[in-house]
């Protein structure tokens, strides 16, 4: 009975019961008071008595309403509707608080999801806390292992139950339509036994297949490539697909196909270094004991293999720690920043609530007068809080997801597992709960304050809040300064000369597998240059190992003839065809281009750094055995998007060293889209194992290479904007409540002849004072604590922007306060 009607009421089709009750109550009170007055009471006393006798009608109504679920839902729906109506009447408050909450929750959810992944979430391996990385070192710096040494660790260190690892390889899958590029993982040792990763379908490798068995696994990612039991042809060999494993099997790395490393490689030279081994600790063995044993084995290996294992030492690092090493510090910093941000957003939210509470004071006073109990007022406030948090949660999902994707782009290269980071549902729920609790807390405070009809905040409260705003603005100023500095650095890097001019040039990346023999590689290079050059519309074809801005390929030591000492470390070695410089617009400053294998050109940076500025005619060597004559000096090009200056580099002739990843540059008037098909067809005819990894203009490649620094800049800019928004909302809230608090004072001043402009100035003076204190604090902190990092100019720009933002935020309420008609202002209390 009555359910339909109640539902109707709660959905808003019925007449507003609450409003009706209020009106009826008011009528009743009036009548009662009149009657009491007729009996001889004073008007004031009559009203007081009427209220007393009336009792707490609303509270009683609510008590009656709480009797069944429908009534409870009815009440909830009604409260939410009332709350929404109230919120809509204060758009500034609504937008401000939803934004604050969304930023606070979203950023923290993203940051904590990353922290969670790095520090707390177990790796997707069986008892992953018992896995250690066997990190080989030589003279204190990390070095890589090879299958033979890995076998030694596994057989001789008794603290290990298993040792294994994998390495990634880009290769091709032969399909009927042509070659398809795939990323493979080649396992060395029993990777699946070691990690406990199980097959989702079919099986993993059997122990007899671990050494180069003709079997393959697909990851979920590569599932579309074939079916279990299919035969696939990868990089020239045939494998039988035996199962499917999870994408997580390689901790975030994007792998399509998994195969055991070929047996030949397992018995390759002990000198090679391309592996990092992972071991499982035997139960009951401590990390320290295992480390001591591994070190003694390392010492034995040094004695047994003095040629290859000279200076060998070993360190055991818990796997999770090792894999997340690079990301640990940034992650903590990110989380600390995010937590600080949450704190600031909550403080500002409190400010907004206070200002609004004061604006709504009059309305609440009426409700209290009508007999609305505290409980009722609280319920309305709670409904508002719930509504705000609900809206903000939706928005914060967007913020959080954007944050995670940005983090992935910026740090994904150093820490591929970042790809596994998803907004954690529980983290998210916890944060939303914090937001709800805080909002409810503020609501409670406001509700309690409103319960006491005229509890205006005093001067002391204003001071306390002003201190908070000042601290916040000082911090905001530092953040802004940092952001300005980073943006400026980015712009400086981006604006730096590239060192080449490659308009109208199309590049085609062609990959051959790492095990392609040198003669075949040379044949492919030559055939590629010849056959692509014969395509219609191609004026010239040249080759480089990697395009500018895309990073270096090989680097190493360099020696200069006539000097005993090594001239430098980490010097870039490039291979190009001689025509490459002309095609790319790289100037030849002196000498000529190389024509023979023992001739090289160096760039100006190399010449200045190692050859006293006079390069031509000198002899350089990577190892003091093979000497190369410098025949020319060319201009430097930028190697990476985030590096301002070119590195010192040396160019050898293409084909004089082994590097099977080629970038062809083609001078053409044809659009790359039309060229792509022809280039692919050409290469399908040249080689069984080559893949064309994409055809694009050089400008497009540059754009791609700049993606990471650009995301970095966007991230910083976003932080700066958030900081600015925080300062603005904080300032707005405190000034709004200050102006409201002083409405009466304003009215008096207006009544005795003050101009509105002078009143605005009165408020602005307060704001200005706060801003100046904030800037002073920020400058002191900036100069002494962060002085080495933030430069003066960005710091001053940050200070200026903060000042401007604070004054502008104060303008709105100050102006509004000055416009109140004097009479209304005087009536305010």
């Amino acid at each position: 009975m009555g359910i339909w009607r109640r539902l109707k009421n709660s959905l808003g089709f019925g007449e507003g019961i609450r409003e009706r009750a209020e009106e009826e109550a008011r009528f009743h009170l009036d009548m009662k008071a009149e009657e009491l007055e007729r009996r001889g009471l004073s008007a004031e006393e009559a009203r007081r008595r009427a209220r007393l006798e009336y009792g707490n009608v609303l509270a009683l109504q609510e008590k009656a309403g709480d009797m069944d679920v429908v009534a409870w839902l009815d009440a909830l729906g009604r409260d939410l509707r009332v709350a929404w109506r109230r919120l809509r009447r204060s758009p500034m408050f609504l937008i401000g608080s939803v934004l604050l909450l969304a930023i606070g929750i979203g950023v923290n959810a993203a940051a904590f999801s990353v922290v969670n992944l790095i520090f707390f979430k177990a790796m997707p391996y069986e008892r992953s806390e018992r896995l250690v990385v066997v990190q080989e070192t030589r003279k204190g710096s990390n070095s890589n292992s090879n299958p033979r040494r890995q076998r030694d660790w596994g057989e001789r260190v008794k603290a290990f139950t298993a040792v294994g690892s994998y390495f990634g390889e880009s290769t091709v899958l032969r399909e009927s339509e042509g070659n398809r590029p795939v990323t493979t993982a080649r396992t060395v040792g029993d990777w699946f036994g070691l990690t406990g990763v199980k097959a989702l379908e079919g099986r993993v490798f059997l122990s007899e297949e671990v050494r180069g068995g003709p079997v393959a696994l697909l990851t979920e990612r590569g599932r579309g490539l074939a079916r279990v039991k299919d035969k696939i042809r990868v990089g020239g060999s045939v494998y039988e697909v035996v199962g499917v494993v999870s994408n997580d099997a390689f901790y975030g790395e994007e792998i399509d196909v998994v195969m055991p490393a070929p047996a030949g490689l397992l018995d390759g030279p002990r000198r090679a270094g391309f592996l990092v081994s992972v071991a499982r600790l035997r139960d009951g063995v401590t990390l320290e004991a295992a480390r001591a044993e591994a070190k003694s084995v390392a010492a034995a290996l040094v004695r047994e293999h003095p040629e290859t294992d000279r200076d060998l030492d070993v360190e055991l690092i818990p796997a999770q720690r090792a894999w997340s090493e690079a990301a640990r510090k940034p992650a903590w910093m990110l989380q600390a920043l995010a937590a600080l941000l949450l704190l600031i957003t909550l403080v500002n939210l409190g400010g907004l609530f206070l200002a609004r509470g004061m604006e709504r004071e009059r309305e609440s006073a009426i409700r209290v007068f009508l007999g609305a109990g505290r409980a009722h007022l609280l319920r309305v406030h709670f409904a508002e809080a719930a509504l705000l948090v609900g809206l903000a949660s939706g928005l914060s999902l967007l913020v959080g997801n954007w944050g995670l994707r940005a983090a992935d782009v910026v740090y994904g290269d150093e820490f591929p597992a970042l790809r596994l980071a998803v907004l954690d549902g529980r983290v998210y729920a916890a944060l939303a709960a914090v937001g709800l609790a805080a909002t409810m807390g503020f609501a409670l405070l406001m509700g309690w304050r409103n319960g006491q009809v005229s509890a205006m905040p005093g001067q002391a409260q204003f001071r306390a809040r002003a201190v908070l705003i000042v601290a916040q603005a000082a911090l905001g100023m530092l953040l802004l300064g940092a952001a300005v500095q980073m943006a400026a650095e980015f712009r400086k890097t981006q604006g730096a000369p590239l060192g080449f001019a490659a308009q109208g040039i199309v590049s085609a990346k062609v990959d051959l597998p790492w095990d392609v023999p040198m003669p075949e590689l040379l044949r492919a290079i030559e055939a590629g240059k010849r056959e692509m050059g014969a395509l219609p519309g191609i004026a010239a074809v040249e080759i480089t190992d990697r395009l500018p801005l895309e990073g270096g390929t090989q680097s190493g030591e360099v020696f200069v003839r006539g000097k005993d000492q090594k001239a430098g470390d980490n010097v870039g070695y490039r291979s190009v065809t001689p025509g490459y410089f002309g095609l790319m617009g790289i100037p030849l400053f002196e000498g000529e281009l190389p024509r023979r294998e023992n001739e090289v050109v160096v760039n100006r940076e190399f010449a200045v750094k190692f050859l006293d500025g006079k390069a031509v005619g000198k002899a350089v060597s990577p190892d003091q055995k093979r000497w190369l004559t410098v025949v020319g000096e060319v201009g430097g090009v930028r190697v990476a998007g985030n590096e301002e200056k070119p590195r010192a580099e040396m160019y050898t002739l293409m084909g004089s060293s082994y590097w099977p990843k080629l970038s062809f540059v083609l001078k053409t008037s044809e659009p790359p889209g039309q060229l792509a098909a022809a280039i692919r067809r050409t290469w399908a005819g040249i080689s069984d194992v080559a893949t064309v990894r994409g055809v694009a203009t050089v400008e497009e490649r540059m754009d791609l290479a700049l993606r990471q620094p650009r995301s970095q800049r966007d991230l910083v800019a976003a932080f700066a904007l958030v900081a600015l928004a925080l300062v603005v909302t904080g300032m707005y809230a405190i000034m709004a409540s200050d102006v409201l608090r002083r409405t009466r004072e304003m009215g008096i001043r207006l009544a005795v002849g003050a101009t509105p402009a002078s009143l605005v100035w009165l408020s602005l003076k307060r704001a200005l004072r706060m801003a100046l204190v904030a800037i002073a604090v920020g400058l002191v902190v900036g100069v002494y604590a962060a002085g080495t990092w933030i430069e003066t100019r960005p710091l001053l720009i940050g200070a200026g922007a903060t000042l401007l933002a604070m004054v502008l935020a104060a303008m709105v309420p100050a102006w509004r306060g000055s416009r109140v008609p004097p009479l209304l202002a005087l009536k305010h209390d």
Binding site: I17, H28, K32, G55, Q61
Partner: protein
Amino acid sequence: MKNDALSGNLNLLVLKTLALGPMHGYGIAARIQQLSSDALRVEEGSLYPALHRMEQEGWIQSDWGLTETNRKARFYTLSKQGKKQLELELDSWRRIARGVEMVLAAR
């Protein structure tokens, strides 16, 4: 009479009062008090919830109207269903009253 005892019969009293003609809430309370020679005082806090409940049951209807002093007030009228309910409640009241009387008259 204390309110506790009254509350069980509030529906009856209100319906009976409204049978005399449409009335606003304040008038209902005043009328009950007057007719009972101040013996029964309806607490406002229970009157309005009762009125709303009865309206939801369909026994009474309400609408905005003007009082003699030209003030806006909510007037309640007895519906057809309400008349039936009044008779039901009167019957049950009389039965109970008779019963109570008989118990009290026993020696």
